[in-house]
Amino acid sequence: MNNFSDIFNTYNWDETKAGIYAKTGQDVERALAASKRTLEDFKALVSPAAAPYLEQMAAISQQLTQKRFGKVIQMYVPLYLSNECKNICTYCGFSYDNKVKRKTLLPMEIMQEVSVIKAMGYDHVLLVTGEDNETVHVDYFKKVLDLIRPHFAHISMEVQPLDLEDYLQLTPYGLNTVLVYQETYHQEDYKKHHPKGKKSNFRYRLETPDRLGQAGIHKMGLGILIGLEDWRTDCFFTALHLNYLEKNYWQTKYSLSFPRLRPFSGGLEPKVEMSDRELVQLICAYRIFNEEVELSMSTRESENFRNNIVKLGITNISAGSKTNPGGYAVEPESLEQFEISDERSPEQIAQVIRSQGYEPVWKDWDNSLAQ
């Protein structure tokens, strides 16, 4: 069976990083002029040398995105089911060593949350949990999927990495998409940030997308947590991973996220800062590199940034999000994963999207289509 580890292990972090920082304006110009961009082109597009070309990159990114996706932005919202977690992660509010009361939603509570989310207009939902295999496990997910499936056209999940057999069990329950972020591809740093719990196994996480591909999942999402390590290098490895996955699991759709580290109670300061300008560069670089990949934007970013990013390459956006279990109705004050930055309602965001000349789309899938 193919495995990304085999490819990943042929790369060296420091050499890769040096290669990115050695790119010149000429390399950037070649990447911009190419009709199909290679991984070397991607290095140039995320390198410091590309900074002066940002306006041009934005124009290309906008045009490519409109050609593929049209003038529409898809709306989704997270539904946090649980903040119980046995992992220690230095950057996360749910970290095991964060001694705060924990909660996992009961079926009745889930339905209360669902009714609020539905009233906001949502039809696409993202289920989120921490990692506690005693309470939040495959049987729990099956129950939740069974419960909410009649109410949503599209269900995504961002939970702990699972075994192939688990994914095979969950897809018949209407699970369409799984997001699993590597956080960082820097192995030593990964160990530092994940000292305890199942998540400390770098390789198991790295090979999760392979298991998802083997399970024939409709869509999977990749990404790193920006702020842990050099973002340019980490994002190169994300692009490398994406390239590999597209070739091997050609029936799966892909999406990318680019969360920047946000404050939470007792949290970590980012080791590496990324400016707004650099985040725009990254979004445009991803788009120019891959015309088909979905690019997703959360409420971590500021109002002004989100208003303006709509036209620059993203395809999906969340709004009105709560990052704690019960946040919409049941227990608004429970422990949240991170502080959101844009607190505007879904309707306000929809209005922003329309004012930018785009249509907010609430439904672009139907659960009944996958048998």
Binding site: F69, G70, K71, V72, Q251, E292, D364, L369, Q371
Partner: protein, 255 residues
């Protein structure tokens, strides 16, 4: 006039509903196009409460026929199920069969498409399958009971024009069902070209929806399709690549 199954069309421009910046603009553009057959992705509309669906409500015109499509399905089984859902919800037995298991380039799966066409035709559907420009597949689909064929001009949404021109010409020359060039048509001149070579109709979406002025572009496509059809019916003068002078090669015949 074009006849497909039991319907007669005055317009040979078919259109789609995706990618528009608003549903109002979509409505205006589709009206300007004069199109009488408009495809709608089943996944995009509220099938259960279709009376309340904004997109569907904007298509309620006497002259507009809905053509639900199965975009998003990955095999024949899912496609047949989707077609049945569409028939029930939208009260039409017309179905645009789109089976692309490859979500990157959205290339149609010929094997699953043939299987689904066979089954749907037996179930009484008017099937319009989206396919690669493959002449043999077109004949096989005819045998399976298809009502038309919809070969691609170039990759869907690419606006690259008629890259498959040689195969389209073969398909048109031997088809017993209407041939609708679907996907890749990027400009009115591409549409006119498709009509000039004898396509029965074209389907255009991205090139209208993503243009600077979709209403005006829709009108431009309408005119181009009409011009191309007129030219086809008038029979084009064949191009001459070199002058014909005296014939040294066969002059011996007159000796």
């Amino acid at each position: 006039m074009l006849t497909i199954a039991d319907k007669i069309f005055n317009s040979r421009l078919f259109t789609g509903t995706g990618k528009f910046s608003s549903s109002i603009l979509m409505e205006e553009a589709l009206l300007a196009s004069g199109s009488e057959l408009v495809t709608v992705a089943l996944k995009r509309v509220d099938i259960k409460n279709n009376d309340q669906d904004d997109l569907l409500n904007r298509l309620k015109y006497q002259h507009i026929n809905l053509l639900p499509n199965t975009s998003g399905v990955r095999n024949a089984k899912e496609a047949v199920f989707a077609a049945q859902l569409a028939r029930e919800a939208l009260e039409t037995n017309w179905i645009k069969l789109e089976i692309h298991p490859d979500p990157k380039y959205l290339m149609p799966d010929p094997i699953e498409t043939l299987k689904a066409t066979e089954e749907l035709a037996k179930l009484g559907f008017i099937v319009l399958p989206y396919i690669h420009a493959d002449p043999v597949l077109c004949k096989r689909l005819e045998d399976a009971g298809t009502s038309a064929v919809m070969p691609l001009g170039s990759p869907i949404g690419s606006n690259k024009g008629l890259k498959t021109i040689d195969f389209l010409e073969i398909i048109i020359s031997q088809s017993n069902v209407p041939v609708i060039v679907d996907a890749g048509i990027g400009s009115p001149s591409d549409a006119a070209w498709a009509m000039e070579i004898g396509a029965d109709a074209v389907l255009v979406n991205t090139a209208i929806a993503v243009s600077g002025n979709p209403v005006q572009m829709a009108k431009a496509f309408k005119m181009a399709v009409e011009a191309g059809r007129l030219a086809f019916e008038a029979k084009l003068a064949l191009p001459v690549t070199h002058a014909v002078a005296s014939s040294p090669l066969i002059s011996f015949l007159d000796e």
